[in-house]
């Protein structure tokens, strides 16, 4: 039995992962903005075998409240072994190009709010000298592309921050996992036409679950994205600039 905090627990990937924690008999604390949906998810996880499920309302942008919220969640669970940070939005790239406010708001929710949480959690985990911190980043953060670079910049920020945090916390015995999913069929991507590269949330969930058990540092999921992103990163600009990626 582990004590797991899930932030952004109504997201499709978080819910699918929570089902695996529940099956193991974990104690769960779920944080999300939509508490009505959270109640329905909590009920499901309880039936699936979670030892106990707590829920709480969470506003990613109310960063001053983060530390208090995290402390109270950890206190209610009487400790913490694992945290999964899964909240986020997919901003409209064109709107962001037209408006600095849109861009900054996308950066706030997808990058700064995560950094705010991680700063506090990093200290908590460092002090206890054990546990796992898993954060859902994205393949989009590996290289800026004209079609999606605001989201990519936010996720890239998170990925680099996690690299540093991992470097710092490994000395304390704390495991930091960066999850880089490719295209996933979730409400966030409902508007996109789906093709063979798309994965279901439960595939991502079982990859996260395994990576936590094996204490991996960075995973691309499904795994073939590691190869795709290797190529995307290596393509020289004179070719890259001719693409519409």
């Amino acid at each position: 039995m582990k004590k797991v905090l899930i932030i952004g627990a109504t997201s499709a990937i978080a819910e699918a992962t929570a089902r695996l924690f529940a099956k193991r008999g974990d104690k769960l604390f779920l944080l999300a903005r939509n508490t009505e949906k959270l109640t329905v998810i909590a009920r499901d996880l309880k039936v699936r075998g979670a030892k106990e499920v707590f829920t709480g309302s969470f506003d990613a942008l109310d960063m001053e409240a983060h530390a208090g919220l995290l402390d109270s969640a950890i206190a209610q669970m009487e400790g913490i072994d694992t945290v999964l940070i899964a909240h986020g939005t997919l901003p409209d790239q064109k709107n962001c190009e037209a408006s600095a406010a849109e861009t900054l708001s996308a950066m706030n929710i997808n990058a700064l709010s995560v950094i705010s949480l991680l700063t506090h959690l990093g200290n908590v985990f460092e002090k206890q000298g054990a546990g796992s911190i898993a954060v859902i980043s994205s393949v989009a953060g590996d290289r800026g592309r004209q079609s999606n670079y605001v989201y990519g910049a936010a996720k890239g920020t998170v990925s680099i921050f996690l690299q540093g945090l991992r470097h710092r916390l490994c000395k304390a015995g704390v495991h930091v996992l960066t999850v880089k999913p490719g295209f996933v069929d979730t409400p966030m991507t409902a508007e996109f036409p789906k093709g063979p590269l798309w994965a279901q949330p439960d595939q991502i969930a079982s990859a996260i679950f395994k990576a936590l058990e094996k204490k991996k540092s960075v995973i691309y999921t499904p795994g073939f994205w590691a190869l795709i992103m290797l190529i995307v990163r290596l393509v020289p600009n004179w070719i890259f600039h001719k693409t519409k990626l």
């Binding site: 099956k23 329905v40 998810i41 009920r43 499901d44 039936v47 699936r48 075998g49 409400p187």
Partner: protein, 435 residues
Amino acid sequence: MLISGWGRYPSIDAEVSQPRSLSEIKSDISGRDGFRGIARGQGRSYGDSSIANNIISTAHFSRFHDFDAKSGCLSCDAGVSISDILDVFVPKGWFPMVTPGTKYVSVGGAIASDVHGKNHHLVGTFCDHLYSFQIMVANGDVLNCSKSENRDLFIATCGGMGLTGIVLNATFYLQKIKSSFIDETTYKARNLKECFELFEVNAGADYSVAWVDCLQQGDNLGRSLFMLGKHNEQAGLRETSNSGPSIPFNFPNIALNKYSVRLFNQLYYSRVRSKMRERQVHYNPFFYPLDGIRNWNRLYGANGFVQYQFVLPKDAGLVGMTLILEKIAASGAGSFLSVLKAFGKANANLLSFPFEGYTLALDFKVNDKVLNLLNELDAIVSDYGGRVYLTKDARMSEQTFKKGYPKWEEFQKVREKYGAQGVFSSLQSKRLGLG
């Protein structure tokens, strides 16, 4: 999007929506003009009962609500599958009261087909253990249904092929088990008569089913393996992986012919060496032998297949079944894994398939010759007072349907009362004259 049933015949270009909330379902049904469609869960009905121009998938309705560990009463969304239930509840010592031959059916689908299992002779159908459900009807209202509340809608929806509305969630009972293993006993029956006798003698057995070699004729007509099962009490609640091989592509049409099927059947029958064999097997191979082979429907080639399942009344069983098996054997079009089972008494649900007697299920590769043969079989089934299972059907005539299901008029009245006509319909319901 091209959609078909599990038999992959027929298929239709359909608009599929995947709502995530009640309000999204409501706007799918009533928010736009001209919705004419059907709910779909795992798409495991064989023919055209879950296909229509508009399809509402219950894929995102996959949450459990509540479980009472005293009574075994479970509430969950209609999109939860039997497989999900097994994953969560077998380790805790619970098992569905009734399970069909695949675990990849949704609870909504199990209700719509009022599915039966190898224990029908003792415990009846899935809906016989259904306490209540909630359904969204054509005007978007959500109604509670049980044997005491909105009873007319309850008995029309159980076995009603999704034609009354969208089932949202359900409350039903699981049974307590002490082990995830089954004590299986297999008898070899040389012909149909011996097989029927085994069903008679073993009427008190928990689970029973027979696999029939449909290509045998004369004295060997109906040669079969008769299998009994009961939940083991000691072997523990272990899980095993059920992921065997996958069929990666459509087999060429020629692959399944009467020689290859005859060879398969011979090997399958001969694998059991003695007159009687006892062994302990996990619940997966016992209940879901084909689920271990992913995409097994591709074995039948790109044109797909039809499954044909009928029931004959008990007193007509041996004579009628003999006649039908003779016809199939003579045509040489038989399939592997033809399944014979004795049913117990019927329930009150208007379109539920089972009644007391014998049922046989067979697969056929789709072609004109087979479709003609099935029309001939329909006539025999009708003559003997039997009927054909809607969940397997892709081709039965309106006339055959209405003769086999005499309560269809009462069913239509309930649909009319709840505004279902002209809203909830499938390719099958149109073909059968239900609109």
